[in-house]
C-alpha cells in the first residue's frame, strides 16, 4: 500500500481525515487554553511566586 492509497482511505479520505484532524485540533486548542489559564492563575496577586 502506497502513501497515496493510505491518504485516500479508499475514497473516504475527506471523511476519515476530517474526523482525525478536527479531533487533534480540538485537543490541541484545549491544551493551549489550559496552559494559558494556569499561567494566568499563577500571575494573580499573591500567587506570583508560583511561577
Amino acid at each position: 500500500m502506497s502513501a497515496g492509497d493510505f491518504l485516500a482511505m479508499g475514497g473516504y479520505g475527506f471523511y476519515v481525515w476530517g474526523s482525525y484532524i478536527v479531533a487533534v485540533v480540538a485537543i490541541a486548542i484545549e491544551v493551549v487554553a489550559v496552559r494559558a489559564h494556569l499561567n494566568a492563575a499563577r500571575r494573580m496577586p499573591g500567587n506570583e511566586e508560583l511561577r
Binding site: Y15, G18, H37, E49, L50
Partner: protein, 251 residues
C-alpha cells in the same frame, strides 16, 4: 476498619493542589502513549470493514469521544451533588474543571458523527433521537459554563450551576437508550456489557485503547485545569503564600 491514608485530607484544595500537580504529568504521558498506540492499531493494523470500507475508521475517534461526552457529564453531576450536599469547595472546583473537556468531547462526537453519517447514511445530520439528545448535551455543557460565568460570587455560582448540571443529568440515560427506545437512524450499541461484541477483535482492541487514551487525557486535563481554578479562587490565601515560600526556598 481503619486505613493508614486519610482520604478526606484531599477534600481541601490546599492538600489536593500538590497531588494534582504530581499526578497530571503521569496521566498526560499515559494518554499520549495510548493515543499513539490506538491510532497505529486503528489506522494500520485493523482490517478494512466489509460493508463500510475505510470509512469505518472514524469509529476510533467517534465512539471514545461519545462515551467520554456522557461519562464526563455523569462525573460532573456527581461532583455537583457532592458539592450541594456537603458544601465542599473542591467538589465544585472539580465539576467546573470537567465542563470544558466534556463540551470538547461532545463537539468531537457530533462532528465525527456527521462526517461518518454522510458516506454511510447519505446525510451529515438528521433530527433523530440520538443526535438531537447529544446536541442537547452540548448545550447543557455550554449552559453550565455560561451560568457559572454569569454569577460573580463563586460559591453562589457553585450552587446554581450544580442544580443545572443535576437537572440536565436526565439527558444522559436518554442519549444512551435512545437507540433502543426510538427507531433511530443511528445504529444500536456495538459494544455492550451483556452481549459478545459484534466487531472484529482488532477493531475492538483499537477502540478500547483509544477509549482509555481519552479517559487518561480527560483526567490529565481536568487535573491541570483544577490547579488553575484552585489558584484563582484561593489566591492570596495563607496556604498559597506558604506554597509560594516553599517554591522560593527550593530555587
Amino acid at each position: 476498619m481503619t486505613t493508614s491514608i486519610n482520604w478526606f485530607r484531599f477534600a481541601s484544595p490546599a492538600s489536593f493542589f500538590p497531588l494534582a500537580r504530581r499526578l497530571a504529568p503521569w496521566f498526560a504521558s499515559a494518554a499520549a502513549l495510548l493515543a499513539l498506540l490506538g491510532c497505529y492499531l486503528g489506522l494500520f493494523v485493523a482490517p478494512t470493514d466489509a460493508q463500510q470500507g475505510e470509512a469505518y475508521r472514524i469509529i476510533f475517534i467517534h465512539v471514545p469521544a461519545a462515551w467520554m461526552s456522557m461519562f464526563i457529564y455523569l462525573v460532573m453531576a456527581f461532583w455537583c451533588a457532592i458539592s450541594l450536599t456537603f458544601n465542599t469547595r473542591l467538589a465544585a472546583m472539580m465539576a467546573q474543571s470537567l465542563a470544558p473537556t466534556g463540551a470538547m468531547f461532545t463537539f468531537v462526537a457530533l462532528w465525527t458523527g456527521a462526517l461518518w453519517g454522510k458516506p454511510t447514511w447519505g446525510t451529515y445530520w438528521a433530527w433523530d433521537a440520538r443526535m438531537t439528545s447529544e446536541l442537547i448535551l452540548l448545550f447543557l455543557y455550554f449552559g453550565y459554563m455560561a451560568l457559572r460565568n454569569a454569577i460573580d460570587d463563586p460559591r453562589r455560582a457553585d450552587r446554581a450551576s450544580a442544580v443545572l448540571a443535576l437537572v440536565g443529568a436526565i439527558n444522559i440515560p436518554i442519549i444512551y437508550f435512545s437507540v433502543k427506545w426510538w427507531n433511530t437512524l443511528h445504529q444500536g450499541a456495538s459494544v455492550s456489557l451483556t452481549a459478545a461484541p459484534t466487531m472484529a477483535k482488532l477493531m475492538l482492541a483499537g477502540m478500547l485503547v483509544m477509549a482509555f487514551a481519552a479517559w487518561f487525557y480527560a483526567i490529565a486535563i481536568a487535573l491541570l485545569r483544577v490547579q488553575a481554578i484552585i489558584l484563582e479562587r484561593e489566591c492570596a490565601t495563607a496556604w498559597v503564600g506558604e506554597l509560594a515560600a516553599s517554591v522560593r526556598g527550593a530555587k
